[in-house]
């Protein structure tokens, strides 16, 4: 451990930085009490939102000073990370970093840096954003720590394979790939599960070597327990939206989901979501609706459009449309039943083999159909995300089934999660307005 780095880490990431972030949170809470920035159509954000933001900001702040103090692993959003957390790794999610760049509206500039280096515009905008950040050294979070280990799991897409190979070459560090065979039917074959298990075992060996210590069964179990509890709480929060009117919009969920992705094995995450659930219940008791005049309830499929999150939420709320459910935020809750804390290894194998993007388009349709009933939905917005092919594949057929069989209007909204160049405000507004008119006409 580098003493200078340790001192800088202790001062900045443990004392001064957290104090500044706490002050910022208190200021935000004070402003929220005064009603600052309130929308006429949307309920104010949850009171706990500034705490969530502080927690995420602390994580990225720690990343600025963690080099030389803790081992760092860069991981994909669907990677099995519980053993890394148990081994003391600092985890960095490049996808989350790209999403931060998207909401900060700096993604296009960063993507352009990757494109100048020869990366095609047809690649995922998360990849281009992150590679551009890497090549240019620019990031809205201050500084990204160099990885000591890279872990890519193919359960979200195949792009990560190539993306992480580029990272491995750039940084010259070990890359571990966990390849999860696609689940075509209801169940993964025993061979597939065995194959994933073998790779997780191998990943643990590499991670132990990089960490310089052995994985403690107790720590592993403790982290797995927290992961499961946080996932269960997240799912409960989402399911509270079965209530009419919905207490929390999917747009809020897109922001509040950051800890369940990047901090899910930590005790603070469990506490945060437990408190969030209490506040959501309080909203239900008090009859607070996320969209003040909620009349229509819809589902959002695919990633959000990070750079237009607020604008789309406002546009829909103005027309009394509440986006109450999302297959994307649900993806971090629906795996809760697979997580068995008594056998963390086995539960990891199943939980990380069954994410929605590692299953067929029929499975996603089935999930959406279930959500339409459970959440009492009037329609569906399918974000056809130019960057995320695995998520967008099958949406044409899914839309046909939803409009035909279930008689629910379904809008295919062409956009991109990070690349503003693939988005036209006027056209999107017309599509969303026409969708609202369809909902109105069907009532």
């Amino acid at each position: 451990m580098n003493p200078a780095a340790s001192l800088a880490y202790a001062c900045n990431a443990r004392v001064l930085g957290p104090a500044a972030l706490r002050a910022a949170r208190l200021h935000a809470e004070w402003q929220a009490r005064g009603g600052a920035g309130r929308s006429p159509h949307l309920a104010p954000p949850l009171r706990i939102a500034p705490r969530c933001k502080e927690m995420v900001a602390r994580h990225w702040l720690e990343g600025r000073y963690v080099q030389g103090v803790r081992k760092v692993a860069w991981v994909t959003s669907g990677a099995p990370v519980e053993f890394l957390t148990a081994l003391g790794f600092y985890l960095l999610y490049p996808e989350n970093h790209a999403a931060i760049c998207g909401t900060a509206r700096v993604a296009v500039d960063l993507a352009a840096a990757a494109e100048e280096a020869g990366y095609s515009r047809d690649l995922c905008s998360y990849v281009r954003t992150d590679l551009g950040s890497l090549f240019s050294g620019r990031t809205p979070v201050g500084r990204l720590p160099r990885p000591d280990l890279l872990l890519a799991c193919t359960n979200i897409c195949q792009t990560v394979l190539f993306w992480y190979r580029v990272l491995a070459e750039h940084f010259g560090v070990p890359l571990v790939i966990v390849d999860t065979p696609f689940v075509y039917g209801e169940e993964a074959s025993p061979n597939s599960l065995r194959y994933v298990g073998t790779q997780i075992d191998e990943a643990i060996v590499v991670a132990e070597k990089v960490a310089g210590r052995a994985l403690s069964a107790r720590s592993f179990e403790r982290v797995a327990t927290r992961s499961r509890r946080a996932t269960e709480l997240w799912l409960e929060i989402l399911q509270r939206n079965r209530h009419v009117p919905a207490p929390i919009s999917a747009f809020d969920q897109f922001v509040l989901m950051a800890p369940i992705v990047e901090l899910r094995g930590q005790a603070a995450t469990v506490d945060l979501y437990a408190a969030m659930l209490c506040e959501v219940d309080e909203r239900i008791r008090r009859g607070v609706a996320s969209v003040r005049e909620e009349k229509y309830r819809v589902l959002w499929d695919n990633l959000p459009i990070w750079f237009r999150l607020r604008a789309v939420a406002e546009l829909l709320a103005e027309r009394r449309i509440a986006v109450v459910a999302s297959t994307y935020t649900n993806a971090w809750g629906e795996l809760a039943p697979y997580l068995d804390t008594a056998s963390p290894r086995e539960s990891m194998i199943r939980a990380y083999t069954y994410p929605i993007l590692n299953r067929g388009t029929g499975h996603k349709l089935h999930i959406m159909q279930g959500m339409i009933d459970d959440y009492h939905l009037d329609g569906v917005i399918l974000h056809s995300d130019r960057s995320c092919k695995p998520y967008s594949l099958g949406q044409m057929d899914q839309r046909e089934r939803l409009t035909g069989g279930l008689k629910r209007p379904a809008l295919l909204l062409e956009a991109d999660h990070n690349d503003m160049r693939c988005y036209a405000d006027e056209q999107a507004a017309t599509r969303l307005a026409a969708f609202a008119e369809m909902l109105e006409a069907q009532r």
Binding site: A424, A434, E437
Partner: protein
């Protein structure tokens, strides 16, 4: 002539249309002008003209609904409604049945599924580019030196057709330049660009699912080759309302009439 009971304005990318309807919803007054750069000035003047016509025809102060891509600029309107709903409403009233409506405008095209009761059940629009729209034909006409008004007739009279592989307006221009440079005659190219546009429309029709009959609206369908070649490609007869270019404004006026 009966009095005007409601007005609709369709501010499109190429033209601005205003329509007045009487108490029974019949189209009784209209105006159409090419869109000008100073849109708000033009809109104010056209609305004023329409109001004057209402007074002349004995309609008095009537409500106005705005549609089209420039609908947000019509400050005189009581409400904005999208082109999708307005075209569907106008065409349904005009032809009296549902089906699949293809609206080809100056900068966007739409395919709209209309149920037997006149409600929109689904729609598709062109993506963020001019492929499959009037702009595609306009650009091609300019390069080929053919007046826009006679473009459709030239296409229908052509004995041969060359394949234009791109529906991207920019790439298609390059193809046209290249074909002309190789000595290909103008007529087969004109027919080829129509085919490219039609194939783009057919792809959009398929994405919504074709329910007969096929109906057309929008200024571009005044080009006779669009209806003829679309019928050829789909094997369906196409229904053309009397005033295809006015259907958006007409639908807006009908909605204004209902909301009185």
């Amino acid at each position: 002539m009966t009095g005007v009971s409601a007005l609709g304005i369709d501010v499109g990318s190429a033209t601005v249309k205003v329509v007045g309807v009487d108490d029974a919803g019949a189209l009784c007054w209209d105006a159409l002008e090419p869109a000008q750069a100073r849109a708000e000035v033009q809109i104010a003047r056209m609305v004023e003209d329409a109001r004057r016509a209402c007074d002349t025809l004995g309609g008095g102060k009537v409500s106005l609904i705005a549609t089209g891509c420039g609908r947000g600029l019509v400050h005189q309107a009581v409400r904005e409604v999208t082109e999708i709903t307005c075209h569907a409403r106008g065409v349904f009233r005009e032809v009296g049945h549902g089906g699949t409506l293809v609206d080809v405008g100056g900068q966007d095209s739409k395919v709209i599924a209309i149920d037997p009761g006149g409600a929109v059940t689904d729609f598709a629009m062109n993506d963020k580019c001019a492929a499959g729209t009037g702009r595609f034909l306009e650009n091609a006409a300019r390069h080929l030196g053919v007046p826009l008004e006679s473009l459709g007739h030239v296409a229908l009279e052509a004995r041969e057709e060359v394949r234009i592989s791109s529906t991207c307006t920019v790439f298609a221009e390059s193809e046209i330049v290249s074909l002309l440079a190789h000595g290909v005659a103008v007529e087969p190219i004109v027919r080829g660009i129509h085919r490219a546009l039609i194939l783009r429309l057919v792809a959009m029709i398929r994405s919504v699912g074709l329910v007969a009959p096929l109906m057309l609206s929008g200024g571009v369908v005044c080009n006779p080759a669009i209806g003829t070649m679309l019928a050829e490609e789909t094997g369906q007869q196409v229904v053309l309302p009397r005033h295809p270019q006015l259907m958006g404004a007409y639908g807006a006026a009908l909605i204004a009439l209902e909301g009185r």
